[in-house]
């Protein structure tokens, strides 16, 4: 069944995330898949991107003639600044983050548990080099935390789990999950499915997810 599914591409997931970012939001995008979101921001809403390396009002990726190696995003890609942007040092940047000024942060994940625990900084492989970056600060500090990831691992296990098997980034922090199969919201009484791809019935989505899902509210 898995093989034949028409899954959402990373760009399609990004377009879905953007629907849940309101006018005026201050948003931080994690490295990896969430960076796709900067390509899909709506023209009719003013959304300010914060990059933890010291930039608020980040613009699109730099075109070749605009590249300045000292103007980069958190993934170290050259970017641009919007009119009205501001630059600041790392301590100020994390004062914004830890101090609760970031409305929404979108991060990638290895696993998310049913109660919103996030694991996204290291696997259990002995030879893997751990790297935490700003993930723990962002996971705790952002008012709302969205996770954007593939629904399953490459070998077909669900990344939405009862209890995370990888080391945690933060406990009970994830609000929404956006995957190639579905959009899910973590509530106090469980995970609610909001929408999912056309190829699946609700029961099939539950089977693939492997944890109990609440059906959408009418």
């Amino acid at each position: 069944m898995n093989i034949s599914l028409r899954r959402r591409s990373a760009d399609e997931i990004a377009q879905r995330v953007v629907q849940d970012i309101p006018e005026g939001a201050h948003v931080n995008l994690g490295i990896g898949m969430p960076m796709k979101i900067s390509n899909h921001l709506p023209k009719d809403r003013e959304i300010l991107l914060q990059s933890e390396n010291g930039l608020l009002g980040m613009g699109p990726l730099a075109a070749p003639h605009e590249v300045d190696t000292e103007l980069v995003n958190a993934g170290k890609q050259p970017v641009t600044m919007l009119p009205g942007a501001s630059l600041f040092n790392h301590a100020e940047s994390f004062a914004m983050i830890r101090g609760g000024r970031i409305d929404i942060c979108v991060l990638g994940a290895f696993e998310v548990s049913v109660n919103g625990d996030l694991a996204n900084w290291r696997t259990n492989r002995d030879d893997a080099i751990p790297a935490v970056g700003g993930a723990m600060d962002l996971a705790y500090g952002a008012k709302r935390l969205y996770v954007m990831m593939d629904h399953q691992t490459k070998d077909g296990r669900s990344k939405i789990v009862t209890t995370c098997s990888y080391p945690l980034t933060a406990r009970s922090v994830v609000d929404n999950i956006y995957t190639d199969l579905a959009t899910l919201v973590i509530q106090s009484d469980g995970i609610r499915a909001v929408d999912w791809i056309n190829d699946l019935e609700f029961e099939q989505l539950c089977d693939l997810t492997g944890v109990k899902l609440l059906p959408p509210k009418d």
């Binding site: 000292e70 103007l71 301590a91 994390f94 790297a131 935490v132």
Partner: protein, 215 residues
């Protein structure tokens, strides 16, 4: 005012050195090259990354001169020698969340011995650390970092050492400048006193000890 070689000539073995930069942005390459040539060993490097693509930190690591790295993100597409030494257990790594790293340096520079932060509470990175609950939220105690040296990169300096930075090259520079017994700055531009508006000075000169003009 000195050449890069002169400015870091008295770095002793075993020194703790703050190095500005986020990837290549704001990395004081010429000071690091001078440090590679100078030969000090057994160094503790505090920086966001552990070097990549043969840059200055990577060269120090590859030359076996770094005993310990305190950083948030050592994993890079091309971390070079670091990866091998890490896997062989030949380099110590203290992994610190990025916001905790910048705040530890800020605290060290501000004369604050330590602080409680909610970041990393309940995770592996808080193991063995003092924890305390404030207003129902778990916090982890972290010590400030005060170093022997800060090697940073800025854009413009005047004779007194007032600094401005270039775009996101600023990152850790202004914080690290405050937290070392000797702060050495690599700049691309030197200007007369008064040329930088007092309103636009980012790092006041009191934090700066030595200035090196980029070649």
């Amino acid at each position: 005012m000195a050449s890069a070689d002169e400015a870091i000539a008295d770095v002793a073995d075993g020194s703790t050195i703050l190095v500005s930069g986020f990837g290549g942005a704001g990395l004081p390459e010429q000071l690091l090259t001078a440090l590679v040539n100078q030969g000090a060993r057994d160094l503790v490097i505090v920086s966001n990354n552990a070097g990549n693509a043969g840059n200055g930190i990577a060269q120090l690591v590859a030359a076996g001169r770094v005993r310990r790295i305190v950083c948030s993100f050592p994993r890079q597409p091309d971390s070079g020698a670091f990866e091998q030494l890490f896997r062989e257990g030949k380099i110590e790594v203290e992994l610190v969340p990025q916001g905790t790293l910048s705040e530890r340096i800020r605290a060290g520079g501000a004369g604050i011995a330590g602080f409680y932060t909610p970041t990393a509470y309940g995770t592996e990175l808080a193991e063995g650390k003092e924890v305390r609950i404030f207003d129902g939220v778990g916090h982890v105690f972290e010590r400030g970092i005060l170093a022997d040296w800060a090697l940073i990169k800025a854009r413009t300096a005047d004779r007194w050492g007032n600094l401005t930075y270039h775009r996101t090259g600023r990152n850790f520079g202004p914080v690290m400048a405050t937290a070392a017994r000797c702060t050495v700055v690599q700049v691309s531009e030197r200007v007369q006193l008064g040329a930088i508006s007092p309103e636009h000075v980012i790092t006041p000169a009191i934090f700066v000890h030595r200035i090196v003009q980029e070649r």
